[in-house]
């Protein structure tokens, strides 16, 4: 494993790899190393590129290095009464760089956006070994192409970020979870749609297979009280709502946003139009969890086939293979293949950053050129 001490070191490593035809895999905390196909590549750990560069709470802007542990970043902003609004989550050791590169977002994503919506700017080393800057360190900017959007969720395939500037927001002063029990997926989806479509400012909505539906109401106390009193009336046609104790609520939200409690060696994460979620889960037993009002569904099983992906596609969604035994990951691409024109465009965009294919490992089997490389 290569462990660059700083951005200059990193640029040299990437330039050398380009010159030698080597493949590099960028790594933060390594908590997602089992994502994608098994591959042979030199791992470059960005763990040493760590620490806060600048944080001014009143500007709502935070600049950090990629190897900074996510938990540290969250503790830092929490101490100022702020948060990363996309509600990133990760295993112990997860870094902020890896979290953004993997576009991890929690339950609040449905109303507050994802990592893409909160990455304001970055400095990175491209596959050419060149350092470049994109975006900015202010919350409102349209100068030049919005490369931060491309970088968020790029899985280290465009460049190695050496600094990330993130938008931070005030954390709600008060959060209450309302729960309904015993709803079918169809009824739960109707409830979540009504809640998210109401003006009671519901910030997250999830449904677990065992018939638990969660609604999150957050903000200043007088407003939260008012809305929590109003919602049961607004939604009376759907169900009865009760307030959930905070610790219990946190555990349930975690289940919904990570699918962590599901049983099975194979785990899929499906993104689809929320109205299609009940139809999707009806086909896959009871090892599933809906978040984002139905817009994200976790499905687990021991089935090594691709029925989930086919069902997602048929419903206008896409399935990501999040966890599977190595032989399945070698066979099934992590990402659902897109239309050929889109795949070709993505491939050209990747080459715009990485012409030598330094970051083109065989991890993502849908790369236009992945199947040309030795397995």
């Amino acid at each position: 494993m290569l462990e660059p001490r700083d951005a200059l070191d990193l640029a040299q490593i990437i330039a050398d790899a380009g010159a030698n035809g080597a493949k590099l895999e960028l790594r933060g905390g390594g908590t997602k190393a089992d994502f994608g196909a098994p591959r042979e590549a030199e791992v470059v750990s960005l763990a040493a590129l760590s620490g806060v560069v600048d944080y001014d709470p009143a500007e709502l802007v935070l600049t950090v290095r990629p190897g900074t542990p996510l938990a540290e970043v969250q503790a830092l902003v929490a101490a100022e009464g702020q948060m990363l609004a996309f509600e990133p989550h990760g295993a112990p050791g997860a870094t902020i760089g890896g979290t953004v590169a993997a576009a991890v977002a929690g339950s609040r994503r449905v109303t507050a956006g994802s990592a893409r919506d909160h990455l304001l700017g970055f400095t990175a080393v491209s596959g050419r070994g060149e350092s470049f800057v994109a975006g900015a360190k202010v919350v409102k900017n349209v100068t030049g192409y919005d490369l931060p959007k491309l970088m968020a969720g790029s899985w280290g395939r465009l460049g190695a970020m050496t600094e990330l500037t993130l938008k931070v927001l005030p954390a709600p002063r008060c959060t209450v979870t309302l729960m309904a029990e015993g709803l079918t997926p169809v009824a739960a989806h109707a409830l979540m749609a009504a809640a998210l479509g109401s003006n009671a400012d519901v910030s997250a909505a999830a449904h677990l297979a065992r018939g638990i539906t969660l609604l999150r109401v957050a903000g200043f106390a007088p407003s939260v009280d008012y809305r929590c009193n109003a919602l049961p009336g607004l939604l009376a046609a759907h169900c009865r709502l009760s307030r959930l104790e905070e610790t219990e609520a946190a555990a349930l939200w975690r289940e919904a946003m990570t699918g962590s409690a599901l049983a099975g060696a194979v785990r899929w994460r499906v993104h689809l139009p929320p109205r299609k979620a009940p139809e999707l889960v009806a086909r896959f037993g009871n090892q599933w969890a809906m978040d984002w009002g139905g817009g994200q569904v976790w499905i687990a099983s021991d089935d090594a086939g691709t029925a989930v992906r086919e069902a997602a596609a048929a419903l206008g969604g896409e399935a990501v293979l999040m966890q599977a035994p190595p032989d399945m990951r070698a066979r099934v691409p992590a990402f659902q293949p897109r239309a050929p024109g889109v795949m070709a465009l993505e491939s050209r965009v990747r080459r715009a950053f990485d012409p030598m294919g330094v970051f083109a490992t065989t991890r993502f089997r849908e790369d236009a050129h992945a199947d040309q490389l030795p397995a």
């Binding site: 202010v138 919350v139 409102k140 349209v142 919005d146 003006n199 400012d201 109205r275």
Partner: protein, 497 residues
């Protein structure tokens, strides 16, 4: 004028009749405009200091026509400038003498509204406000609200990543678009994103939004619609100077409040607006803040109380809370009329659009006064205070020889100042031609080359909206040049541009 466009290609202009015939074969009837008189209305966008009649205008009605137009132009090497409603303030839709102007105004249909999933699918020529009007009966709206919202099209909003006074809380266009159908310069039709969140693969949608018409032509847009807040209230607060107003803004945010809108005006802007619309703005203050909160009434009451307290702690000398909808609208009337109001006190004005870290506001305003004296031109400031987006309005008279040049020089100095203090050239109006030549102030050669390589991935022949955004046109072959190792390129079967 100081901004020059690429020299028109005489060979293209020489084959204009051939191009017209080809376009008429694709778009029949009135959809191809060629007469000099008829081209005149198309010669500029919202940046009216720059005018150039297009070679011809094509107004397609279907995605197939857009695709056929682009495919033909691509094959023939003819440049294309896409245009929505033509309200760009940065010259993003300025025609070129040797280019087809592709107007998307006939794409006017709202295709579908899904209230359950809270999305609307619309054609790009639908105006921003028309989306809200289509869904407000069911209690929904489309959040981004650029000041030109009655006229500007959603396709143009996607191209420019348009903002508005509410974007601190609700985001820019990019945060409210879920998918687009896009036609590439070679005529290929692709769909990016969709009716769900977070598609697999690279976020190409994210880079298309705000690409100023350089990457493709948008033919369909899927947007998020939001439930309309129960109520909204505004408070109007006057301060002796901008420093105290700025401190108030910082404290509001530090105390965890993200208002729906938070606007600041300086003394010249206050006086111009009050003289124009007479809404009762205090005239003896140095800075005026309009802070709007929305949500349940209980929340608005609570937040207005908090904001009034914070304003008092920061030296506010006047404070008025809206008691009804009419009064709230009156507070906004002056701010929304600020541009035309300034137009009444000056024959012409240039509207700038930099963003700065808010903490640098007092220094920036002080240095702007110095620049004003230096260039001999007045300036009035309106300011999206919550997100640090400045709109200095530079007052000049185009009929006085040299004043436009002086105004542009003053504007450039202001934008350099924004970058110097850690900000950016444009917060919401786009680079277009207006800020094109200032890009090197904010970005290095390596930064700009990397952006241009993305352009090459979408449009390797640089035919779509050339001369915008980037100060130097670089051939993609030059940008793609790479080291050859042991005489072999990686992936030798891949086409290189």
């Amino acid at each position: 004028m100081s901004i020059t466009m690429p020299v028109p290609d005489t060979a293209t202009i020489a084959k204009r009749d051939h191009i017209i015939a080809a376009m008429r074969a694709i778009v029949p009837g009135e959809g191809v405009i060629v007469e000099a008189d008829a081209l005149r209305p198309w010669e500029s966008d919202g940046l009216t200091a720059y005018r150039q009649p297009p070679m011809l205008v094509v107004l397609p009605e279907t995605v197939e026509q857009v695709s056929a137009v682009l495919r033909w132009c691509h094959a023939e090497g003819v440049k294309v400038v896409p245009r929505g409603s033509g309200t760009s303030l940065s010259g993003g839709a300025l025609p070129l003498a040797d280019a087809v102007l592709l107007g998307m105004g006939k794409f006017k249909r709202i295709l579908e509204v899904d209230y359950e999933d809270r999305v609307a699918v619309v054609q790009p020529g639908v105006t921003n406000l028309a989306i809200t009007q289509a869904v407000e009966g069911r209690g929904f709206y489309y959040a981004p609200d650029p000041s030109s919202q009655i006229a500007c099209s959603i396709g143009g909003n996607v191209a420019e990543n348009s903002g508005g006074v509410h974007c601190l809380k609700y985001g820019l266009t990019t945060n409210n678009v879920l998918g687009v159908e896009l036609v590439l310069m070679d005529g290929e039709i692709v769909r990016l994103g969709g009716r769900h969140l977070d598609s697999c693969g690279l976020d190409l949608l994210g880079v298309v939004v705000g690409s100023e018409g350089l990457l493709g032509v948008v033919t369909e847009v899927t947007v998020r619609i939001l439930p309309k807040p129960e109520t909204a209230r505004a408070v109007l607060v006057g301060f002796p100077d901008a420093e105290q107003a700025g401190a108030c803004v910082a404290q509001v945010i530090a105390e965890g409040i993200i208002p729906a809108g938070m606007e600041m005006m300086d003394r010249p802007a206050i006086h111009a607006a009050e003289a124009f619309v007479q809404v009762g703005y205090p005239l003896d203050v140095g800075a005026l803040l309009i802070v709007e909160v929305d949500g349940p009434a209980a929340e608005c009451d609570h937040l207005i109380g908090e904001i009034a307290r914070i304003a008092g702690e920061n030296g506010a000398v006047t404070s008025r809370v809206s008691t009804d909808e009419a009064e709230r609208m009156a507070f906004w009337a002056g701010r929304k009329a600020a541009f035309p109001a300034v137009g009444r006190i000056s024959p012409d004005y240039l509207c700038m659009d930099g963003t700065i870290p808010r903490r640098r506001l007092p220094e920036v305003l002080r240095r702007m006064e110095e620049l004003s004296a230096h260039h001999g031109l007045g300036v009035a400031n309106v300011f999206h205070a919550g997100d640090g987006n400045l709109h200095p309005l530079i007052l000049y008279d185009a009929n006085v020889p040299g004043e436009l040049d002086a105004a542009e020089a003053f504007g450039s100095d202001i934008l350099r100042l924004c970058v110097e203090v850690g900000g950016v050239l444009t917060g919401e109006h786009g680079v277009g031609i207006e800020k094109r030549d200032l890009m090197p102030v904010m970005f290095t050669e390596a930064d700009l080359k990397q952006q241009q390589r993305v352009k090459c991935a979408f449009d390797p022949d640089l035919l779509l909206n050339p001369g915008k955004v980037f100060p130097t046109l670089r051939r993609c072959a030059e940008l793609g040049r790479m080291h050859v190792h042991h005489g072999a390129l990686p992936f030798p079967d891949l086409p290189r541009f």
